[in-house]
Amino acid sequence: MEEDEFIGEKTFQRYCAEFIKHSQQIGDSWEWRPSKDCSDGYMCKIHFQIKNGSVMSHLGASTHGQTCLPMEEAFELPLDDCEVIETAAASEVIKYEYHVLYSCSHQVPVLYFRASFLDGRPLTLKDIWEGVHECYKTRLLQGPWDTITQQEHPILGQPFFVLHPCKTNEFMTPVLKNSQKINKNVNYITSWLSIVGPVVGLNLPLSYAKATSQDERNVH
């Protein structure tokens, strides 16, 4: 049985910082939000998605054609969501908010997220399950309550959906062990988020994969 890989909170914050550094380089709009007493914090990203799957382009771009932008293209996000929609019906656009927090009890990162229409109506858990990528749907539906449920955000105290962290080690450990065999440093957050993100509509551009390699070259 392989020894499980855990990360401490400081390590978590360091990986998040590296992740955000690359995010800023490619305009991926992740940011760090410290908690009120600044002892801890979380990573946050907001993006908008048209319900049929196309990703919204930035303010000013026409939404008529609803051209599907490739997922890995970076785009600027307006901070005020009232400014965003001009032509697409408000009910069709969903605002996703993703938070990456550290779980002290599990010693792994956890993905919190919420989704709402622009008029403020939140998506239901059922909507969320239905929105899960086809790739993962079968597995999810075998045990949906073990996977995505609703919980109170530890820092904000608001209801968020959560991707359960209890099994994170099981799928992270083989990947990390494999990389360690060739002395390759891996950004835990990048790897983990690339795996769990697509389940809930969050796709990381490929450049994050290269960023990790470059980081380790700079370190050594």
């Binding site: 597995r139 690339s194 795996i195 697509p198 490929l206 290269k210 990790t212 390699s213």
Partner: protein, 181 residues
């Protein structure tokens, strides 16, 4: 060399030079083995070309996206490229590159079964999801098992990501897991 030897070597070179200079530009580049008669020792073509290539032509799939992979070679013993090689979304290939398929090398991680055939030629338009479905079927995974694919041994590309490669090659690690969340 003596002047006599000079003359001999020049005599050998002249016909070669004449051909190179007179041939149409697009014919100048000759495979090495075609020029072998101008050299003392025979040069053989690349060993790879001599290996019989079994090609499994699977019917192209419209929906599942998990088929349409062509087997490049059976059990291979060629040295594997370092997995830290940079991967690119295909934008690094020269413009006009007509090679439509990417050569993918699949490597198992952890306790995941090793595929008997590791090298596959895949259409560029195949998505990562298509590959995942294909490997799952190939390995006969059950519904409760999830398969993950990684580039650079650590990053899972999005399922909608189309296949890409540096120089038309891509190394992917795959890992099965029953865990989620």
């Amino acid at each position: 060399m003596t002047s006599r030897e000079h003359q001999v070597s020049l005599c050998n070179c002249v016909p070669l030079l004449r051909r190179l200079l007179c041939d149409a530009p697009w014919r100048k580049a000759r495979p090495l083995h075609a020029l072998s008669r101008y050299f003392r020792s025979r040069v053989f073509p690349s060993k790879m070309a001599e290996e019989p290539q079994s090609v499994l032509q699977l019917p192209p799939s419209s929906a599942a996206g998990g088929e349409g992979l062509t087997d490049v070679s059976p059990e291979t013993t060629t040295p594997e490229p370092p997995s830290s090689a940079a991967v690119s979304p295909g934008t690094e290939e020269p413009a006009g590159d007509t090679k439509k398929k990417i050569d993918i090398l699949l490597k198992a991680v952890g306790d995941t079964p090793i595929m008997k055939t590791k090298k596959w030629a895949v259409e560029r338009t195949r998505t990562i999801q298509g590959l995942i479905d294909f490997i799952k079927k190939f390995l006969k995974l059950v519904a409760s098992e999830q398969l993950f694919i990684y580039v650079n041994q650590s990053f899972a590309p999005s399922p909608d990501q189309e296949c890409f490669g540096s120089d038309g090659k891509l190394v992917l690690h795959y890992c099965k897991s029953q865990a989620w969340g």
